[in-house]
Amino acid sequence: MVNSSTTSAWTLVFTAWLVATLATLGALFMSEIMALAPCVLCWYQRIFMFPLVFILALGLFPFDPKVVRYALPLGVVGLAVAAFHLLLVAGYIPETLTPCRQGIPCSTVQIQWFGFVSIPLLSFLAFFTINALLLASYLRSPK
């Protein structure tokens, strides 16, 4: 009853859910446990990341290949915000053009692992992976 292309499409969406959940818990860990205040851009990325945990989970049971249709717009916008944030931290976009007015400036680097892994980079990678997995799942799904 379950053919192999459906199974692999399911596995791809499931992996995207895993990435989204990991990113969500990671973000909550940094803000709630490590007490790092999220900047404005981080909030926008959270707005597009957190709902993926629920939307993708609902699309898994019962498996609905159309979940990609609902999840991908969030992932794409999230990726765009993360890319903007990365460019900002790298200095390609001047801080004055950003929506940060008070609190933590978005160009502040709060964490740097191994010398180059920052929070916006993690966010960008998470959105990128989710989008890639969802696209792959869309292409694999039986039409």
């Binding site: 499931f14 859910w17 959940t21 818990l25 898994l60």
Partner: protein
């Protein structure tokens, strides 16, 4: 079925990892804070800091506070009650940590009132009227004079004391000490030099209880 189990297992695993991580992170942070405190006792206890209670009390609570901070206001009567429960056993020292915008001139006024022997009265008047002079987490020094009026302070002297370099440097030193002690939020408490393992009145109470037991055993 297999897929469902896989999903549930992954979800449970991630959540457990989150809480185990949180537990170890907080434990490590608490140990680090205790070490910082142990190495910097000089920055914690300053002889000229305003204090309440018996100066030779066996238990010494040092509080970093901001008169504009709501939690400081809420904790103040609770600590007073705790001190009243153990008369003569607890001393409370207050250190200035004006983290709110606009709070520094208010602290200056408070310290200037202390020079006229009205620290407690001024502090209590400021806490009681906090909602009138703190708006959107910003202290408005112009609005503190009305609540302070009943104290009958010498206002000319108060103003000139507020502008004195002595008070300015005391506040600057307290802020430096706060930085040294890793105090980033108010209120922050240290009981006989030990930081709270986690913020909360129960934690403060149990730390005080421990200190009381230790000193009575001696």
């Amino acid at each position: 079925m297999k897929q469902k189990n896989l999903f549930i297992a992954a979800a449970v695993l991630l959540i457990i990892a989150f809480f185990v991580g949180a537990f170890y992170y907080q434990k490590q942070q608490a140990e680090q804070a205790a070490q910082t405190a142990a190495h910097n006792q000089a920055a914690l206890v300053r002889a000229d800091a305003p204090s309440f209670g018996n100066a030779d009390a066996p238990v010494h609570i040092v509080e970093f506070f901001d008169p504009a901070c709501g939690t400081c206001r809420d904790f103040y009567p609770m600590i007073k009650a705790l001190m009243a429960e153990h008369p003569g056993k607890i001393r409370l020292s207050m250190r200035y940590a004006p983290f709110h915008p606009g709070s520094e001139p208010v602290v200056k006024a408070l310290e200037a009132a202390r020079k006229q022997g009205q620290f407690r009265q001024a502090l209590e008047a400021l806490f009681a009227s906090q909602n009138d002079w703190v708006q959107n987490h910003t202290a408005q020094v112009d609005s503190i004079w009305r609540p302070l009026a009943p104290l009958g302070l010498d206002m000319g002297r108060l103003q000139s004391d507020m502008n004195s370099s002595e008070i300015a440097s005391m506040i600057a030193r307290d802020l430096m000490d706060a930085k040294t002690m890793n105090v980033t939020m108010t209120p922050e408490y240290f009981v006989n030099g030990k930081p709270l393992p986690r913020f909360g009145f129960d934690e403060l109470k149990s730390l005080v209880g421990e200190a009381l037991l230790q000193t009575s055993a001696k």
